[in-house]
Structures are given as structure tokens and as C-alpha cells.
């Protein structure tokens, strides 16, 4: 990944990071002694995370459906019917289900990250002021993020969205009855609005994460600048627009970046709330690959889809790492 790291800040970062007397050339032995402590972690990570991707690439060129007779075990390599070349990739790019999955993934990720970033910013601004019980409010606000994702998906589906006894319809029913109606409206949220239902549950889960990062950004504002703005009689809006927002920029970038990494890989919520349905209305890429693997048993096709996802991620990551690397060098230049 050296290509993605900006080369320039490295030396700056290093010198700011640990100012050492003039660097003398290290001998080979010394270099290896320095590398020693790093090696176990590095080798372990390479084996467990990189090798599978090489295998994924290999499998993506095979015609391999487990349901076809003769496909028994894998590592003996007597298991696939034929080489497929780029056939699987052709399928991936022409299959309408997969195209839908790509679209759903984009809609899901962009809306969840942006909405939860906005809500998180709003909550962070509110929590940045002192008010009675602020510490307690902050603690409570973290809770949605700490509930196990599968648990929150199940709670949203069954305790909140359920048309008959979910909290949402229950509350509507209560309000309607207050005004003398027999019964409130019965809305089946998950079947009627599948995508918004998933987005709402994920926004709820990720807003605290965004809020925490943005709150840290707000509270790291230099006080003297804010003081100066106040003395200059800048209005709250002006202070926010010209001082807070520029300062927050890197925190906003970081929260969008980290949020995208996690939301892009969403599997639990889709698996639990909609099972990708109705039809393929909420099937995102991770869930589509899962279906191809364990429902259709098309290993070659699933692997090709996996490779496409990895390439997509690398493109995103190349931009994203630039953002992180600027944060990273700034931190070490202090």
C-alpha cells in the first residue's frame, strides 16, 4: 500500500515524531533487530488477511457450482468443472441482481453516513455547551452504538417496526385514541419502506459514533480563538461558520471515512431486518455475495463479485488513506 501513502510527510513526520540526534546509518543486524518486534504481527496479518484474497482471485476464474456433481473438495483442485476465464466477471457486470446490489450499497452507505453525520454534528454542537446533566446525556447517547448490532437490528424489526405491536404503531395508536379514534393506522414499515427502514436503524446505530468524533473535534478548539471571536463581537453563526467549521473539517472527513468503511460492510442489519428483500430491494453487496455463496452455491461467481468489491474498496481506500495520512502527519508534527 506504499503507493497510497503520501511520500512527502514521511520524513517530516518522523523528525517531528521523535527528534533523535543525527541519524547514523544502521547496520544490517541493527535493522533486523528493529524489525524483529514487528514481524510476528506483520506476518500473521499477511497470512490471515492477504492469502484468502489470492485464493478468491484464483476461484473467481473457475466454473464452480457446489450443487453440480463431481465437485467434492477444494484443495485437491479436482473440484471444479472447468476454467471460466473472465466468464464470472462478465456475469458479475451483467447480472441485474448484482447491479442492484451495487446501487443499494451506494444508497445505503451514502445516506447512512451523511444523515448520521448531520445528526451527530447537531448533537455534538448541543453537547458542546454546558447544561445540567450534560455528562449523563452524553453517556446515554452512546448507548445505541454499544448495543450489539444484531440485537439492535432485531429490536428495530420486532419491537419498533412490527405492524401489530411495535412501538411506532403503538404510539400512533395511542395518539389516535387520545383523539377518540378507535384505532391508529397500521403501517408495515419493513415491507412498505424497506430501504428507509434499514437506513433509519443504521443511522440510529452510527450517529453516536459520529457524535463522539465531532464532539472531540469541537472540544479541541483553541479557546483563545473563540475568545477573540467573542471580543470581536462575532455572532454565534459567524463563529461557527468561520472558526468552528474549518477546524472541524478534518474531524468531519475522518468520521465520514471511518463511517463509510464500516457501513459499506453492513451485513447484520440486512440479514436480520429484511433478508435483502422484498425481492432484492435491500440486498447490498455483502449480502448478495453471501446469497451467491450459501443459497446459490455459485462459488466462482461469488469469488468474482468479491474481487470486484475488493477493487472498489481499494479505489475508495486510496482516496481515503490520503485523508487519514494528512491527519496522521499533522498529529505527529505537533
Amino acid at each position: 500500500m506504499s503507493a497510497t501513502a503520501t511520500p512527502a510527510p514521511e520524513d517530516q513526520a518522523r523528525s517531528g515524531h521523535r527528534s533523535r540526534p543525527p541519524r547514523h546509518e544502521l547496520t544490517r543486524a541493527q535493522k533486523w533487530r528493529r524489525r524483529g518486534p514487528l514481524m510476528p504481527a506483520l506476518i500473521f496479518t499477511i497470512i490471515v488477511t492477504q492469502l484468502p484474497f489470492l485464493l478468491t482471485i484464483a476461484i473467481s476464474t473457475l466454473n464452480w457450482n457446489v450443487l453440480q456433481p463431481g465437485d467434492k473438495n477444494f484443495l485437491g483442485m479436482g473440484n471444479f468443472s472447468s476454467f471460466a476465464g473472465f466468464d464470472n466477471y462478465r456475469t458479475v457486470f451483467t447480472d441485474s441482481r448484482l447491479r442492484d446490489a451495487v446501487l443499494n450499497t451506494m444508497v445505503l452507505t451514502v445516506s447512512v453516513v451523511l444523515i448520521s453525520m448531520m445528526l451527530g454534528l447537531m448533537l455534538a454542537i448541543l453537547l458542546d455547551r454546558k447544561f445540567p446533566g450534560r455528562g449523563l446525556a452524553r453517556t446515554l447517547l452512546i448507548a445505541p452504538f454499544l448495543v450489539m448490532p444484531v440485537a439492535s437490528a432485531l429490536i428495530w424489526k420486532h419491537a419498533l417496526y412490527n405492524p401489530d405491536y411495535g412501538l411506532f404503531n403503538g404510539t400512533l395508536n395511542w395518539v389516535w385514541q387520545l383523539f377518540g379514534a378507535e384505532e391508529g393506522p397500521v403501517i408495515d414499515y419493513v415491507s412498505t419502506f424497506p430501504m428507509p427502514a434499514v437506513i433509519a436503524a443504521l443511522v440510529w446505530q452510527w450517529t453516536p459514533f459520529m457524535m463522539l468524533i465531532l464532539l472531540a473535534g469541537l472540544q479541541s478548539q483553541p479557546g483563545d480563538v473563540l475568545e477573540a471571536a467573542k471580543i470581536d463581537r462575532a455572532s454565534g453563526m459567524q463563529t461557527f461558520r468561520f472558526i468552528t467549521l474549518p477546524h472541524l473539517r478534518r474531524y468531519i472527513e475522518l468520521s465520514i471515512l471511518l463511517g463509510s468503511i464500516y457501513v459499506l460492510q453492513t451485513f447484520d442489519a440486512i440479514f436480520t431486518i429484511t433478508q435483502g428483500g422484498p425481492g432484492s430491494a435491500t440486498t447490498n453487496l455483502p449480502y448478495e455475495i453471501y446469497l451467491t455463496l450459501f443459497r446459490k452455491f455459485e462459488y466462482g461467481e461469488a469469488a468474482a463479485a468479491g474481487v470486484v468489491v475488493v477493487i472498489g474498496s481499494i479505489v475508495v481506500a486510496t482516496f481515503a488513506l490520503r485523508v487519514i495520512s494528512s491527519l496522521f502527519s499533522e498529529e505527529h508534527q505537533r
Binding site: L126, A137, V147, D164, Y165, F271, Y290, A303, A317
Partner: protein
């Protein structure tokens, strides 16, 4: 920052931050109002400066939003103490009698096996991550290897690769070596999953150890192991705890590998939750009890270490 005692009111702000030092808003005096002490404190950071009533309005808004936001969590916990008949009513019954029956029922259905599996998978993998990541972070911050930033970005880049794309080969290899439904398969995968986060976090914590102390140790003739064990580890222990917490949370909550690679023997808590629905029909109150139960360890740990959480979640990039 890491050695400071957590203080909720100042959050992550540095103690020397001038914001904490400046006094009450001079506007209070200018307007000739004598605000009660509590309001005086509250107004200190009010950037809009449009009076106390506005301050209260903002506080009310903050609390209303907070309560709306945590309502689903409260609802989950409340329902978990209700009887099934009271749980599935519309309009919702807030004041139904409470009991621990659902929790007893959840344990009767064998929740403890799943909790133990989760504890092993998360605990052992967290331990392994720390054992591997601390020396690595040492080699990346204290006596950095050449091109240490490149190594850091390599670790990070593995985090960008979606695990779903590795699921098939992992599944095939694990199946081939007979590792399906084995908790130590999950341990290995979770260790790799959390390694980049741990390396980044520990690097940022170790970089804060003053070089003078390490130089002094070097002058005294301390070797690598001695330095790591007697100086680095104790000084970085708050960071170590934060890293452990984050790794534990991510492993505890992991679902995709768990659902595809385990079956009956080594399934973890999220699998228990999902199985709870399909095999028995829907029992909302018991589901809420199970969901509360499996979320409890992470919630307690997260509340206890909330100021560390920020830094961990942002890989140490935000303090």
C-alpha cells in the same frame, strides 16, 4: 491525555485548555443580571451569547433529542422485564408489572453456552492481539523501522478490504482442515480483524511516551524486552486498556464470520439472538431480555471507558 482521570464534564479536553480557565461570561455583568451559580457556569461556553433563556432552550432541546434517541434502548430494557402478554400490546403498556422471568427463560434456553463462547472468542483474541500489537507498535513508534509509515498504512489497508470477499476461501480452508464450528477459528479471524486497529491505537499511545525516559533506560542498559515490560507497558497501560476494550467490543459483536463458520458447539451470542427468533416463533419480551443480556458486557465497558472510546474508534487519530 491517557493518564488523566476521566472527567465527564470536560470530556476529552486537555486540562490546560484555556477554555477551562476563562471565567464567567462578562455579558452577565454587562446585562446587569445576577444569574444563579449553575447558570453562570453553563453560560461560560455559550457561543451565541443571547441570554439565559436561550441557554435553557438549548438544554431542553438537547435533553429531548437525547431521550428520543435512547428511547429504543429504554424500550428494549423495559420490555425485557414485562410479561409476554404485556409486551405485545398496542398501545404500548408502560406500567405493566415487572419481573426477571424472561431472563430466567433466556438462561433456560442455554444462553450461558453462547455467552461463554463469546467470552472465549473475544477474550483470547484480544489477548493475542495485544501480545502481537504491542511489540509491533514499539517497532513503529519508539525505535521506528525504516518506512514505518508504509507499514502503518499496510495494516490500515487490510481494514478497508471487506471481510465478505475473504469469506469463501476462509470457509473452504477452515472446512478442509476441520475447523468449522470451532471457537479457535473465530479467535484467529478476530485476531487478524482487530490487529490493524490495535497497531494504530498502540502506536499513537506509545508515541506519547517521552523519549527522555526511553533514552534513560537505554543508558541504563535495558534491552528490548526489559524496556517493553518495565517502561513501555506500565506507561501505556491506559492505552492498552482502551485498545483491549475496542478489540473486545468488535469481536463480541462480530456476526458475519460467526454465522457462517459456527453451528451448534461454538456459536457466539449474536447467533444465539438470531436463533432465538427462528426456532421458537416470536417472543418479544424474551427477545428483549436476550438482546439486553448480550449487549450488557459491551455497554458496561463502553460507559466506563467512554472518553477512551473516541480515540479507539478513530484509530488514535483524534484525541
Amino acid at each position: 491525555m491517557s493518564t488523566r482521570t476521566p472527567d465527564q464534564s470536560t470530556g476529552t479536553r486537555h486540562p490546560a485548555d484555556p477554555l477551562d480557565a476563562h471565567g464567567a461570561d462578562p455579558g452577565d455583568v454587562a446585562q446587569g443580571i445576577a444569574p444563579p451559580p449553575a447558570q453562570k457556569r453553563r453560560r461560560r461556553r455559550s457561543s451565541s451569547g443571547d441570554g439565559d433563556r436561550a441557554g435553557w432552550r438549548w438544554a431542553t432541546l438537547a435533553w429531548v433529542l437525547t431521550l428520543l434517541f435512547v428511547a429504543p434502548v429504554f424500550w428494549m430494557i423495559l420490555t425485557s422485564f414485562h410479561q409476554e402478554s404485556d409486551a405485545a400490546t398496542s398501545p404500548p403498556s408502560l406500567f405493566a408489572p415487572l419481573s426477571f422471568d424472561n431472563y430466567a427463560a433466556v438462561f433456560d434456553r442455554g444462553a450461558s453456552t453462547f455467552l461463554i463462547n463469546s467470552a472465549i472468542a473475544s477474550g483470547v483474541s484480544t489477548l493475542l492481539v495485544l501480545i502481537l500489537a504491542v511489540p509491533a507498535a514499539y517497532a513503529l513508534s519508539i525505535r521506528p523501522v525504516e518506512k514505518w509509515t508504509d507499514v502503518m498504512f499496510f495494516f490500515l489497508s487490510t481494514k478497508f478490504l471487506p471481510p465478505i470477499a475473504a469469506l469463501l476461501p476462509v470457509y473452504l480452508i477452515v472446512k478442509q482442515i476441520g475447523g468449522l464450528d470451532n471457537i479457535y477459528t473465530l479467535v484467529l479471524l478476530y485476531t487478524a480483524m482487530n490487529m490493524p486497529i490495535a497497531v494504530w491505537m498502540m502506536q499513537s499511545f506509545l508515541a506519547e511516551i517521552p523519549p527522555e525516559i526511553l533514552e534513560a533506560a537505554q543508558v541504563d542498559g535495558a534491552g528490548f524486552l526489559r524496556t517493553v515490560w518495565s517502561i513501555v507497558t506500565p506507561m501505556a497501560s491506559p492505552g492498552l486498556a482502551a485498545t483491549a476494550l475496542i478489540c473486545f467490543i468488535f469481536s463480541w459483536n462480530e456476526f458475519m464470520f460467526a454465522v457462517n463458520l459456527t453451528a451448534t458447539v461454538s456459536a457466539t451470542s449474536p447467533i444465539f439472538l438470531v436463533g432465538f427468533i427462528s426456532s421458537q416463533g416470536l417472543f418479544l419480551a424474551k427477545l428483549c431480555a436476550a438482546a439486553t443480556l448480550v449487549s450488557l458486557p459491551v455497554m458496561i465497558a463502553g460507559f466506563a471507558a467512554q472518553d477512551k472510546l473516541v480515540r479507539g474508534l478513530s484509530l488514535g487519530a483524534v484525541k
